[in-house]
């Protein structure tokens, strides 16, 4: 069960906004979050590989894609980390890409913890 808790600065997900956006269907939001988590795993692996191979195009593309899905579900911190990854790819800045990858991992863990505490 997901609570309709109002968003605050530290919450990894803005529930009211996400719910309103997808049509006020809680179980659908849960379904989408599961989808997001599965997709996130694949993309993180892709990003790790891209950083190893200094493949800046993939960093930009994967960052762009994560930015979109994070925004769709109102995950502001994950969205920001994805924006940073996209920029790092565009600027061909490997250090920033590594930093963004770390933030993505950390923010994802925060989200997981937050969601399991809600259950």
């Amino acid at each position: 069960m997901i609570n309709n808790e109002s968003s605050h600065g530290n919450s990894p997900i803005d529930y009211p906004s996400a719910l309103a956006r997808i049509g006020d269907d809680e179980s659908f939001l849960e379904e989408l979050l599961d989808l997001y988590k599965m997709d996130f795993g694949t993309k993180i692996e892709g990003l790790q590989k891209a950083i190893e191979q200094e493949d800046f195009v993939s960093m930009q593309e994967l960052g762009h894609s994560l930015k979109g899905s994070s925004a769709n579900l109102s995950l502001p911190f994950l969205q920001q980390a994805a924006v940073d990854m996209e920029s790092a790819g565009r600027d061909k800045n490997l250090d920033n890409a590594r930093g963004a990858l770390g933030s993505l991992g950390q923010e994802f863990q925060n989200l997981q913890e937050f969601l399991s505490a809600k259950e």
């Binding site: 309103a20 956006r21 997808i22 049509g23 269907d25 659908f28 379904e31 989408l32 989808l35 997001y36 997709d39 762009h64 894609s65 930015k67 979109g68 899905s69 925004a71 769709n72 579900l73 109102s74």
Partner: protein, 301 residues
Amino acid sequence: MIQVLIAEDDKLCRTILEKNLNKWGYEIISTEDGKEAWRVIQEKKIQIAILDWIMPKMDGVELCKKIRGKKWDEYIYLIMLTVRSKQSDIRKGFAAGVDDYITKPFDTHELKARLQTGKRIIGLQNQLLDSQKKLQEIATHDTLTNLLNRYEILNILTDEFHRSLRENKPVSTVMLDIDFFKKTNDSYGHNVGDEVLIEVASRLRGTLRRYDKVGRYGGDEFLAILPGCDLKNAGRIAERLRRAVCKERIKTEAGQLYVTVSLGCASSENQSYKSIEYLVKFSDKAMYHAKNMGRNCVIAS
């Protein structure tokens, strides 16, 4: 039911679209890249397409340009869905031919409202196409007999004449005039005359081959075009037309009338006929010859 194409590579976004569009009663076809979307658009009757900008194989802008570059039976309403929200991006999208633009993350209530607008535009567009079709029908057909009118039958003759030159095959014309039609009109009135014209037209149309054309050339004159036909065959077909008209009496409000026609044929196999004017003129001459020969006959020489 409105058929909507979704072209979106992001599974999450696609799922949100699918779920909501289903709920709102749209029929959906989902695709994951631009190329697949282009294939579906050509095969299925799509009325609204929601296109993501950045997709593998072919992006939304390119897909949009491809769609607008082709002629379709019905208008396709295009909505671009993208994270890009800069003014210059929006302008680029519209320049490619999109009708509406929604930035991600989108709000489902807003999407619903925008789809309604799309539905309304499609409705208006279809009304316009319908009235265009009706106008085209009125402009090319004779309102009494529903045969092609003089303007259209001459247009078709021009096309067929040029085709016959290109393909080196003859085209023939048959001019046909109802015998003593003025007498029918004078004796029984114009209503009966109209009944005769309608029935003669219907018998002519029912007798010709599928690819032949017949039109009302003047008051009681009809012109048939027989593609690929030499003069000898034109004579045969004209004879079939003559019999079709006179074989049964025509039922009118003044009783059953025996109606006959006189027919004259001309063919482009005669190399001195250098334009459609010659064909019309000589089939007309042959028709008058048939009148002089005692009517109810065919002249093809």
